[in-house]
Structure formats: structure tokens, C-alpha cells
């Protein structure tokens, strides 16, 4: 079996990174283990829960079923990339705090990125559009009401 390692480059949170990975390396694990970005969460590992969501070229995808080699050259945003370098939180993060939209916090990185994605594309989402966009991104505390409220507060 040829499990040739390969050095690949991509951008994470506006910073160019270079990692040497095997073909079976998953983006999720490269982010968490090689790059120390543990904000992205592992949960189901089969693309069902969406807690491993990151933005690749501005679009949310599931990092637990994405090969690292497949994102060579891509522009990736993880939850760590949302706050300003001085620690000022993104408005979406502020809204989640203000509305108590975080219980155990495990779905929060994926949920915040989905909210960010929705608001980037549609600054005035209705409640049904919000629910549609985050459906499939699972919160096992079932704290959806406050999550929807937080996102709604940013709908201009």
C-alpha cells in the first residue's frame, strides 16, 4: 500500500499553513491535532451531527468526512477565526452570549459558523430560514429556541 505522505498548504483563519499528512488524514484531525485548533468538535464522525462544521472557501462543510488532501489550497475558517486578534468577539458570538444560546457548548462552534454563513448570504433571515439553515446541526441540549433567538437578533 502506498500511503505516501504529502506536504500540503492551505489558509486557516487568514494564515497560510503547511502540514505533512497521510492520505487518510481527516481535516478535522489535522485542525485539532496538527494545528492545535481544538475549537472544531468531533462528535458522530459520520456526517450526521455537523458539529465538525468549518467554512471551506466560505461554505460550511463537514470536516470529519473531508480528507485533508482534498482541501489543498483552500481558504478555511474555524471558530478560532471569528474573533478579532485583540479578542473582540464576532457579533454572532456576542449574540449567542447575550441570549444564553450556549448550554454545554459542544455544538456552539458549528452552530456559530452556520449562523455566520447564513448572515453572510442573507442578512435578513426569517425564523423559518434560520431554522432551515441550522437544521441538521444538532444541539443535544436541545437549546434551539435561544440559538434561533440569538441569530434572529442579528437579522437586520
Amino acid at each position: 500500500m502506498t500511503m505516501d505522505k504529502k506536504t500540503i498548504r492551505f489558509t486557516v483563519n487568514k494564515e497560510m499553513v503547511e502540514v505533512t499528512v497521510e492520505p487518510n488524514a481527516l481535516l478535522l484531525n489535522v485542525l485539532r491535532n496538527d494545528l492545535g485548533l481544538a475549537g472544531t468538535k468531533y462528535s458522530c464522525g459520520t456526517g450526521a451531527c455537523a458539529l465538525c462544521t468549518v467554512l471551506v472557501n466560505g461554505e460550511p462543510i463537514l470536516s470529519c468526512i473531508t480528507l485533508a488532501m482534498a482541501v489543498e489550497g483552500a481558504d478555511i475558517t474555524t471558530i478560532e477565526g471569528l474573533a478579532q486578534p485583540d479578542g473582540t468577539l464576532d457579533p454572532v458570538q456576542e449574540a449567542f452570549l447575550d441570549h444564553g444560546a450556549i448550554q454545554c457548548g459542544y455544538c456552539t462552534p458549528g452552530m456559530v459558523l452556520m449562523a455566520k454563513d447564513l448572515l453572510n448570504k442573507n442578512p435578513h433571515p426569517t425564523e423559518s430560514e434560520i431554522r432551515g439553515h441550522i437544521s441538521g446541526t444538532l444541539c443535544r441540549c436541545t437549546g434551539y429556541t435561544s440559538i434561533v433567538r440569538a441569530i434572529k437578533s442579528l437579522s437586520k
Binding site: M1, T2, M3, D4, K6, P23, N24, A25, L26, N29, Y42, C44, G45, T46, G47, A50, T53, V56, E59, P60, I61, L62, C64, I65, T66, L67, M69, A70, E72, M114, D117, G132, H133, S135, G136, T137
Partner: protein
């Protein structure tokens, strides 16, 4: 217990830059290799050690393979086109309403940003949401490889549960939708437990009308047989008839009689048979009303 945290499988990763290069790789490795695009199905099967390819050939960056374009009235969708792109393309084109409805109901936002039309068809799940819509629109698929190029009607492409006519050295390159005649409407609907779940049953209809009469129609169902399929008996029942509540009931009865549903974790054969006719009647009615609006 399988550790889904990692992908344990060992394989060679290949990223060809052209279709010719991909076909060469496929020719070399054949059945030991697998084509990958979005990976939403294949990587899960590999984690579960159900699929064990020695070589993965990623076709998602081959230029042109994800194009969506119109050509002399035909809609040509590259096999590596992602569902989110198809949703965007079809949103303002009412002649493809059934495809727009099916595409936007596939998985969730993240999955639609990854999964492709070719992947959905080549995976050949009986419950593939795109299949009934594409069958109802009379779609064909283009297969290239092993020194030839062929175009099949989608109904001839599906051979069984996860079985297709695709040879080990072939790649699906395009899905072709023929020109939609005037006064034709289409619709798709499915029944699921929760929004992002796999369908218990799905249905798509395309119908051409003249006044109160149905000139011709295609009725396709998913998750009611080993493959998504057209219900030819029901189509014949409707052809040339005046559309009425009684006709919709007749169509429903034909549909219920022709399908071969099974009982599985998502539903029972009895339930599927009971709702199939109602669903087909409803979807036919919706397509019918759209035909008038066209």
C-alpha cells in the same frame, strides 16, 4: 465498535487534473479504486470498513466536470456539480421545479456543499432524493471510459440496491435533462421522520397538459423498490385523460399496486404502500397546477 474519529483505511490518494488523466488511473486500477467527489457517502463507508478501495481518485477538481449549462434546450449538469450549485441554478427556472425541490431537500446545508449529483446517482441508494425528480424529467446519464462513451436513460442506469450499469473503468461525466415541453409542470415531495432524515418514501411527477387533459406524464418513486423507478402503469392510466379527483385516486391505486416496498428501520412495507398512492396523487396534483401556470 468502529472508531469514527479517524479513517483507519490505507489507500493512495490521486487528484487528476483532467478527465483523460482520471480515465488512465481508472484503467490502471479499475475495481481496486473508487472515484470520490464530495465523499459524504464513500468516506463514511470507508470508516465503517464497508468500502475498502486501494486507490481514491478525486475528480472534484477536474475543470468542466462540475459545470451546469444549457445547450439547445437541454440542461447539462456535470457529474461533480454540488447540490448547492444545482439548488442555486434551478431556483429561478420553473421548468425544473421537481429537481429544485429534490435538490434543496437533500441532506443539510453542509452536505449540499459537498455532495454531488453524480455521487448521489452512482451510490444508487433506493432512497436517493434526486433520482425520482431526475426520472420524472426524463434524464439521461453520460458514462465515459474503457475506450467508449455512452448515454443511458436513468431508469436503465439503476440495476439494484447500490448497483448500477457503471463499469469499473467508467466515470459518470454528465446528467442530461431533455428540453421541457410547453405547458409542463413538475413537482417532488418526500416523507421523512425529521427534516434531514433519509426518505421513507419519495415521489416526483412531470406532467404535460392541454386544457383539462393530461397529454403525457412521468411518475417516479423512491424508497419503494430496490431502485428508484418509474411507475409506467400509473403513467398510462393518466395519459390522455381529463384530470379529476377520481383520476388522481386511480393513479394512486396503480402506484400502490406497482411498487415493491420493504420493511426497514425507517418504515414498514404496509405504511409505504398506504401512503405511496396518496403521495403520488398529491404530487401529481401539484405538478398539474404548475403546468397551467407555465
Amino acid at each position: 465498535m468502529i472508531n469514527t474519529h479517524i479513517l483507519k483505511a490505507e489507500f493512495e490518494y490521486l487528484a487528476p487534473r483532467s478527465l483523460a488523466e482520471a480515465l488512465d488511473l481508472l484503467d490502471k486500477f479499475g475495481a481496486d479504486s473508487k472515484i470520490i467527489a464530495g465523499g459524504t457517502d464513500l468516506l463514511v463507508l470507508m470508516k465503517k470498513e464497508i468500502a475498502t478501495p486501494a486507490h481514491l481518485i478525486n475528480i472534484s477538481r477536474i475543470p468542466g466536470l462540475s459545470l451546469i449549462r444549457e445547450d439547445e434546450g437541454w440542461l447539462r449538469i456535470g457529474a461533480a456539480a454540488r447540490w448547492s450549485d444545482i439548488v442555486r441554478y434551478c431556483a429561478s427556472r420553473r421548468q425544473y421545479a421537481a429537481l429544485a425541490e429534490a435538490a434543496s431537500s437533500i441532506g443539510k446545508v453542509q452536505v449540499r456543499n459537498m455532495a454531488t449529483i453524480g455521487g448521489n446517482l452512482c451510490t444508487a441508494s433506493p432512497a436517493a432524493d434526486s433520482a425520482p425528480a431526475l426520472l420524472a424529467l426524463g434524464s439521461q446519464v453520460k458514462l465515459v471510459g474503457a475506450g467508449r462513451e455512452r448515454t443511458l436513460f436513468l431508469e436503465d442506469f439503476f440495476e439494484g440496491v447500490r448497483k448500477t450499469a457503471l463499469g469499473p473503468k467508467e466515470i459518470m461525466t454528465e446528467v442530461l435533462i431533455p428540453p421541457v415541453p410547453k405547458d409542463t409542470g413538475s413537482a417532488f415531495a418526500k416523507i421523512t421522520r425529521v427534516g434531514v432524515d433519509i426518505s421513507k418514501i419519495s415521489c416526483a411527477v412531470s406532467v404535460s397538459r392541454q386544457g383539462f387533459r393530461c397529454i403525457s406524464c412521468r411518475i417516479a418513486m423512491g424508497a419503494v423498490a430496490p431502485t428508484p423507478l418509474r411507475i409506467k402503469g400509473a403513467e398510462e392510466t393518466a395519459a390522455g385523460k381529463e384530470v379529476s379527483a377520481a383520476l388522481l385516486e386511480d393513479i394512486g391505486r396503480k402506484v400502490a399496486g406497482e411498487i415493491k416496498p420493504i420493511t426497514d428501520i425507517r418504515s414498514t412495507a404496509e405504511y409505504r404502500r398506504a401512503v405511496a398512492g396518496v403521495l403520488a396523487g398529491d404530487v401529481f396534483g401539484k405538478a398539474w397546477r404548475r403546468a397551467e401556470e407555465q
